[in-house]
Symmetry: C2
Subunit: 482 residues, 2 copies
């Protein structure tokens, strides 16, 4: 036998780890000074693995110099791209412990599975789901959607679908603004994206008459409508379906109601008027949400919550002999999470959520969420009064979609907005991402950032205005960037 | 606006974090003194979340007293239950940085996606896959199997399967000892578990004549055979299919060859004779493996590797407007990992693998893997000479399956082995899990533990012998535990 992989010198390792921790805390403490920056080519090349051993100290030094500075930038107060959470100092605490304990939460009887149950139970209560509900933590809403729709598929087709596979054409329904995660889940489950009907929507969500008509028409053609996906916070505009009325329709039509609440479900913790946006979420058959967006915990962590545990279990449970549970030992601890999803090996991702809730409390997290909505509202109000900027859609929750110069022809606006987005990222001012609306590539801010202040919003908009003026003055048509 | 969720007092937070780090290192340094122990009821009850805020210091104190002691036990040198990796001190370093950076690796242009590419590329080279291959890190082999078989399904049915869904009966093939992950993936994909044919196998893997016969018979009945799943390290006995010959059959029959190499793929880093077990793995169309088992990195992390990138991309790529990639800014960085799997939000799980390889090197990790095989061989040899204990199957790699008293009737052996497993877990001696073989519940050791020495094996077997003698002397039939 050779030796273990443990440090040969624990005192030296301890010193290395403490130095690294200081570097991490320095970084967190100065987050406002560190916007996203491109990875220099030399650093990028240096990431290549030769397979040579360098030991703990040399590797830690590289983590400090080559990894810490080159993140996604979402720790910076003016990062509003896509929908990225900020991260939390409590995550540094929880992840040290998670790495040390190294628990596998697929099952068995140990602390971390009980922690996961409590995280699920707390969320269940916040979301107003009944005590009959079950849940499982996953990487994020994409996985949660797969699990929820697999349970819906099982309700529609019974146990036969697990044995024989899909033998009927199922159809599902969602608003036009539904997140791509639903399409990808429908594809993965073998249902086919064409069988996901996109229902027209307005700022107040899906057109329910159109939904009913689509369901009836599919039934008439021999398909089996099985699920409708409500959206609590659409990715483009932060729209919310009227979940109460949608639940009525789902019940009347015998459809499984799944809600994509990736970020928007957390309006349950927000002040009025934002909290009311997710009213009715408690009536869903299943709910997918993320903790790494608007609960700010480090990536990745989401939850699939299912109203009736037996429907969840029936869709996934399967334990061969080598996973038999028994007795008071480590093999006890039923139920096992592996029976509620795809993963058998499962990291302790509950701990970062548990630690965040214990540290900041529901009120602290809710205040940050409300502040993000306030910041988006402020951004919208400033844009509305700062011609030639213009809002493309009303600000509903924490999303703000706008164009830098509404006086330009559509194509020039698209080019300008794309170039602005890129220029502001590159100079470290602010991160907006882009999306399409009314045929125009727009700037889009999704504020899920507890470091954002109103002053950050003002500074970013001033930079947009200045840079746009500079670019348009330099002459249109603007340089095409992609 | 209220305030950010950042610490109000960074000096106090720093002190809290350093104290916690010391507690974590203390725990790692004394891992041999800390076997699994049940969570006391009072601690379990205390995990419940009230939603009140307690701040960083109080929460960190609870992490030390209520979380650190109650892990799965897989950090202990005599833990051999299921197939659990040990964890690594380097994981403590990487996870601090991962939590601080808080990168979302779904896409975009930042350091952690480049790190992930290098981890995939290094593994590709170790596994002998061509440069045309692509990969994506996932939670583990269960997810990797879903992705691989989705790509296989796409090859069989073309893009239509994404649009229209499954309209043909597909059949897949695997040895009888195939891991449940394959069955669950086949179910999730809508193919149906009955369409996964279990082919008889011996200690040297799947019976290839039986495989050919099954494929022909399914074809004759109008099904579409699409994939065969080879096993590199079966979960029960550590068996390996003859991957070279299996690849020949797969090619001849036009089947996608997927290999489940969850732990066994890492015999590529081992000494002779174990390395040869996975010869031929380089011929697979796809490979699923874990880093959290036999590469010892903290949970969770696995990889799906696909031989031809276009087949991988075609099965999953889908980017709506809000994910458009462009230019030199943060929205650049193509390809994006979200186009190679289900997850859009993706944690930086590459970093713990990168850090482990940089710290210990391929040779260091390989030496630990070889030592685990040596320990299993030693365990097998000791059992063979220690009647009434008896091996149930030959020791091939790192797995050893045995009964504590082969002189008893089968039912009594099952009861004895179950009770032994539980008693040794509860008294902290060693963790064996159980499985079924020849109608008997057996003791099973899967050694993926860099802390295990030959002395640990001897001590555990002595305890098995003593405890078995004590239990059988106390009189049979033994108390039924479940």
């Amino acid at each position: 036998m050779t030796k273990t992989l443990d440090p040969q010198d624990w005192t030296a390792f301890r010193a290395t780890a403490h130095d690294l921790l200081d570097a991490c805390i320095d970084r967190l403490e100065t987050a406002a000074e560190h916007p996203w920056q491109p990875v220099p080519d030399a650093v990028k090349t240096g990431y290549a693995l030769t397979g040579d051993a360098h030991g703990e100290a040399a590797t830690a030094a590289r983590l400090i110099s080559e990894i810490l500075p080159y993140g996604t930038g979402n720790t910076h107060p003016r990062f509003w791209g896509w929908v990225h959470g900020t991260g939390l100092a409590s995550g540094l605490l929880s992840e040290m412990v998670a790495a040390t304990v190294n628990a596998n939460c697929g099952g068995r009887n140990h602390g971390m599975v009980h922690v996961e149950r409590e995280v699920i139970d707390w969320t269940r209560r916040i979301m107003g789901f009944p005590e009959t509900a079950s849940g499982v933590l996953v990487t994020g809403t994409s996985q949660a959607t797969v699990i929820a729709l697999a349970a819906a598929r099982h309700r529609a087709l019974g146990p036969e679908v697990r044995h024989k596979g899909l033998q009927h054409r199922l159809t599902a329904y969602a608003g036009e603004g539904v997140h791509n995660a639903t399409r990808k889940a429908i594809e993965l489950l073998g249902i086919g994206a064409d069988n996901l009907r996109r229902i027209p929507e307005t700022d107040s969500g899906m057109d329910l008459d159109a939904l009913r008509t689509a369901v009836e028409s599919d039934r008439a053609e021999g398909a089996r409508p099985f699920a409708v996906v409500g959206t609590a916070g659409s990715v483009d505009f932060g729209r919310f379906d009227d979940l109460d009325r949608l639940a009525d329709v789902a019940r009347a039509e015998g459809l499984w109601l799944h809600v994509d609440g990736a970020f928007g479900a957390w309006t349950r913790l927000a002040d009025a008027p934002w909290r009311a946006l997710s009213d009715g979420i408690d009536r869903a058959d299943s709910l997918a949400l993320d903790f790494h967006k608007w609960m700010y915990v480090p990536y990745d962590c989401g939850l699939c919550l299912i109203r009736e545990e037996p429907e969840h279990y029936a869709a996934f449970a399967a334990r061969p002999a080598y996973l038999a549970g028994h007795g008071e030992g480590l093999a006890g601890g039923d139920p096992w999470f592996c029976d509620y999803g795809t993963d058998l090996s499962r990291g302790p991702r509950a701990l970062k959520v548990w630690t965040a809730i214990e540290t900041y409390g529901a009120a602290g997290l809710g205040a940050a969420i409300s502040d993000n909505c306030r910041a988006a509202a402020h951004m919208g109000a400033r844009i509305a009064e700062a011609s030639p900027m213009a809002l493309i859609a009303p600000v509903i929750s924490n999303l703000c979609v706008f164009t830098a110069d509404a006086t330009l022809p559509p194509e020039a606006q698209s080019t300008l907005n794309r170039q602005l987005s890129e220029a502001l990222q590159l100079d470290g001012t602010a991160v907006f991402s882009t999306t399409e609306a009314e045929g125009i590539t727009c700037l889009r801010a999704a504020i899920a950032n507890h470091r954002t202040t109103l002053a950050d919003v003002d500074a970013a908009l001033a930079a947009v205005a200045d840079k746009a003026r500079e670019m348009t003055t330099a002459g249109l048509p603007l340089h095409q960037t992609d």
